[in-house]
């Protein structure tokens, strides 16, 4: 569950187990180079769109995409956010990639081998993998990139944790290398979704300040054509890309911070796609101009939101109270009212499309009488008749922190506070600016906080965020959750390389989380994008619209909307 597309654990374990002690078959045609492949895997349950086989792609034209903010770098090792990921996907290829169905596919490496003990990975680079200047991608580039990601002096928040157990990485020859880890973990396979950097371009330069960080050398289907600071980034085809070329001649990214403005730009024809929220989706339903030119693409990914409860606080240290909090959350009403039905209730730290999620477990119901009984059982009663429960002279009254950037979060929590008040629990909503909010949560200086889990990487390993050894400041278990059974299962899952056994462990773990909820898991809401109808070939994934291969590389577009007789359903 690191920020970025590291794929999903079961896909990882499938691939890892399949190749242990033997050579893994090439997942892609070697002669085509590191091109796109879709594996035949079960489709996610809801909202999956696959237009990859609809129509004959048209080559040419410009795709106009939106960036919410400007990328801080185009150095793959230093990347921190979505804007970087969106652009790097066109420019820089990793050794292995993840496809729409969460399976591993080759990137720059045409094949790999994993040792019997699961500690050593060998990668064999595709012979035709080249940089845009025509020089070959070599094992020296891979070793340099991995070395930088693992270097303590390099701020690489996305990839560093994945290489934390790296013992050594060394070349076998110019086109192959081996990486050895100190500990066996199926997740290590996903460390190699790191896009490679050209070693020679960084020689003798400061890695953090090198010009290449804003002018990267591409090894992917496109290369950087121009970058106007705070305005736009333009990509053009990389003529040396050996794989299947992208459909558009150019990709034009425009920085448009405001959602409402991006929506207008889409309708006006200045953008071809933008992320939208529920309010813009509602607006589009009655907007004739939108209907004439655009369509909504909606699907579920692996994000979810939850109310973090500080298990160290006197209120939430008791599992009964945490269960009661979950049962006081009217999630069906949230799904119906705020999300117009496009959200799913969850009962553990995964979205329903994650293989770790046990769909047979129903979420705890909205049941105020039962919640009241649990609170009474935990000793919280309204002894002084002031409408708020108390115990030992202390009122059940706490601050619920909400990030100022989250409108939906604010609305959801206002409803929650009202529900709690009816049950004799007083929650004061405090809206904090993002950096302040995060600092409070990460340091454990809070009682309850509304959080969203951005799981675009799809790695379901809960260890870093829910194991009792991972309390802040070093770890990510900001809820300070401690459950011996859960700890044991998380440890067991990390060491288990068999995908089915691992899935079974996660399902047992899910049951523990459901019965002893560390926090209030709320919903997995759908993601909404608006597209010009001229853009076709869209494939969605639990990883989102991008963050998987080929993702937006499979999109194509007609030069004119009128060419398309009708919108795809």
């Amino acid at each position: 569950m690191k920020p970025l597309s590291l794929a999903i654990v079961l896909g990882a374990t499938v691939a890892t187990a399949a190749c242990r002690g033997r050579e893994e078959p090439a997942l892609n045609a070697g002669t085509r180079g590191p091109g796109p492949t879709l594996t035949a895997a079960p489709e996610p349950v809801l909202g999956f769109l696959d237009e990859s086989r609809e129509g004959v792609p048209i080559r040419g034209g410009v795709l106009r995409r939106r960036l919410v903010g400007e990328p801080s770098t185009l150095n793959a090792v230093l990347q921190t956010g979505l804007p970087e990921q969106q652009i790097l996907q066109y420019l820089s290829r990793p050794l292995v990639d993840v496809d729409a169905r969460l399976g591993l596919v080759p990137g720059l490496a045409e094949r790999r081998e994993v040792s019997d003990d699961g500690l050593e990975y060998r990668f064999f680079l595709a012979p035709n993998a080249v940089w845009e200047d025509g020089t070959p991608v070599t094992s020296a580039d891979a070793i340099f990139t991995i070395g930088k990601a693992a270097d303590p002096k390099t701020p690489s928040p996305v990839f560093k944790p994945l290489f934390a157990d790296l013992e050594r990485v060394e070349a076998i020859d110019a086109k192959s290398f081996r990486a050895r880890f100190r500990r066996r973990d199926a997740m290590h396979a996903y460390a190699f979704t790191l896009p490679l950097l050209p070693e020679k371009r960084f020689a003798g330069k400061s890695f953090l300040k090198a010009r290449e960080n804003r002018a990267p050398l591409a090894n992917g289907p496109y290369r950087l054509a121009s970058w106007k600071t705070q305005e736009s980034i333009e990509l053009e085809r990389n003529p040396r890309w050996p794989g299947t070329p992208g459909n558009f001649d150019r990709i034009h990214f425009r920085v448009v911070p405001e959602n409402a403005v991006a929506y207008r730009a889409l309708v006006e024809g200045r953008l071809d796609e933008t992320w939208i929220d529920q309010s813009l989706k509602d607006r589009s339903a009655t907007d004739a101009r939108f209907a004439a030119c655009c369509r909504i693409v909606e699907f579920y990914n692996l994000d979810y939101n939850y109310i973090a409860l500080n298990n160290r606080s006197p209120f939430f240290s008791d599992s009964l109270v945490r269960r009661a909090m979950t049962m006081l959350r009217d999630r069906p009403a949230i799904v119906r009212g705020l999300y117009r039905g496009s959200a799913r209730m969850i009962s553990g730290p995964w979205a329903p499309d994650s293989p770790a999620y046990d769909a047979s477990l129903t979420p705890l119901p909205f049941d105020p009488p039962e919640a009241a009984r649990l609170l009474e059982q935990a000793g919280w009663r309204d002894t002084d008749g002031d409408g708020t429960r108390d115990r030992g002279g202390r009122e059940l009254e706490f601050d619920l922190l909400v990030s100022a950037g989250s409108t939906a979060g604010r609305q959801i929590n206002e409803i929650f506070a009202a529900e709690l008040a009816r049950a004799g629990v007083k929650a004061r909503i405090r809206t904090l600016e993002w950096a302040t909010f995060v600092e409070r949560v990460d340091s454990g200086d809070y009682e309850a906080a509304s959080l969203a889990w951005a799981a675009s990487d799809a790695n379901p390993d809960p260890f870093p965020y829910w194991h009792s050894s991972q309390f802040p400041p070093a770890g990510g278990n900001v809820a300070f959750y401690r459950n011996a059974a859960a700890d044991e299962l998380m440890e067991e899952a990390r060491g288990e390389l068999d995908p089915e056994k691992r899935r079974a462990i996660y399902h047992r773990l899910h049951r523990v989380f459901r019965n002893d909820p560390p926090v209030v898991f709320v919903v997995n809401a759908s993601q909404k994008y608006a597209f010009r109808t001229r853009v076709r070939g869209i494939v969605t994934s639990p990883l989102g619209l991008y963050g998987f291969w080929p993702g937006p590389l499979s999109w194509w577009g007609t030069p004119d909307e009128s060419v398309i007789p009708e919108k795809p359903s």
Binding site: K2, P3, G69, S72, T73, T80, G81, L82, K153, P155, S156, P157, K160, P161, A164, K209, N213, R214, K228, T229, Q230, E231, S232, E234, R254, V255, V256, P257, E258, V261, R264, A265, E268, R270, D303, N305, S403, A404, S406, L432, E433, W434, A435, T436, F437, V438, E439, R440, D442, L451, A452, W453, A454, S456, Q470, P472, P473, A474, G475, G476
Partner: protein, 338 residues
């Protein structure tokens, strides 16, 4: 002649001493501002580490990475040491490097400066071009129909939230009518150089309008008040008595005297040319200093925020100094009393 030169020399020397004194006084003022901004920024909740995710994505940085980033940004050092390091660089005209992209702060400011200067400069010129005639005409007949109507209209504009007006204008003039570009500095396919000027001006139209309409009210009302005051003066009546037309008397006599407070106000407004406008720059995706400032505050990019604050403080002090010097030049009593 000899006496006149002596008097002139003495006046110049006096003025020079005054200017030097004011510059010397500006140095501790600037230092005070810098210390205050540094403290406010570093003592405010949140840090570059906690700000490195985003509320949109909900992303946060893991524990180990947080500690490494703290070291990278020198956040593990005591505050006085951090200040010492920063001020040590500033005195060598080095504003440091951005935490976000590791580029020199001066480079980032230099990139954003032209866009903001163009936007705010044009908005200021437009404000003056509209507000002054409005104020003079309204002040020419106080409580007359034009004065009343313009007052209501100006206050209505003043009360209109800029974000709302901006979105409304975008909807109408860009999306519905297609007359003006929606956002940005120029079109993607705009030609460079002189040929692209029309395109750039078209892109300026909406943001300049949004920056202008709100500031019309106070400037027009200041001019009006000055004109009304001047109308009651003897020289205005004398001008009319000499047979000067009403319009000429208003513009040549009343307006000239009403201009003095406007010039004072301009001295205060000029540093604002550098500060940018956060809301307008965000809505119109304008790559200026306002957006840079806002984004830098959100991401706790201390070097950029400090650099921009320093530039703003220097500009304000320079404008104040220039205004003081102009006054001293015009009025000897000021330099005598200083």
């Amino acid at each position: 002649m000899g006496d006149a030169r002596r008097v002139g020399d003495s006046g110049e020397a006096e003025l020079t001493r005054y200017v030097v004194r004011r510059i010397l006084l500006a140095i501790p003022t600037l230092f005070g501002i810098v210390v205050l901004v540094f403290l406010l920024l570093h003592l405010a909740p949140g840090s570059p580490v906690s700000a490195s995710g985003s509320p949109e994505s909900g992303r946060r940085v893991s524990g180990a990475a947080r500690e490494e980033m703290r070291r990278l940004y020198d956040l593990h050092l005591p505050l006085p040491e951090r200040f010492g390091k920063w001020i040590g660089r500033v005195v060598r005209f080095d504003l440091g490097e951005s935490f976000v992209d590791r580029r020199p702060v001066s480079e980032r400011i230099r990139e954003a400066l032209p866009a903001t200067l163009a936007l705010n400069g044009l908005a200021l010129l437009l404000t003056l071009a509209i507000a002054i005639p409005l104020g003079v005409v309204a002040g020419g007949r106080p409580e007359g129909p034009f004065d009343r109507i313009s007052a209501v209209a100006l206050f209505a504009l003043y009360s209109m939230p800029v974000f709302w007006a901006a979105l409304l204008l975008q909807s109408l003039l860009s999306v519905e009518l297609g007359w003006l570009p929606l956002y940005g500095v120029s079109s993607d396919d705009a030609p460079g150089g002189i040929a692209g000027i029309g395109d750039r001006l078209a892109h300026l139209a909406l943001p300049v309008t949004c920056l202008t309409y709100g500031s019309l009210a106070f400037l027009a009302r200041i001019v009006r008040a000055g004109v009304v005051d001047a109308r009651s003066q003897v020289y205005f009546t004398a001008a009319l008595a000499r047979g000067v037309s009403r319009r000429a008397a208003l513009w040549r006599h009343a307006f000239r005297n009403a201009l003095l407070p406007v010039i004072t106000l301009l001295g205060l407004l000029l540093p604002g040319l550098l500060s940018g406008s956060v809301i307008v720059e965000r809505i119109f995706a304008w790559p200026g200093l306002g957006r840079l400032y806002f984004d830098s505050i959100l991401s706790r990019d201390y070097p950029v925020v400090l650099g921009l604050s320093l530039v703003g403080a220097v500009a304000t002090l320079a404008a104040t100094l220039a205004a003081d010097v102009a006054y001293a030049f015009a009025d000897p009593r000021v330099r005598e009393s200083a």
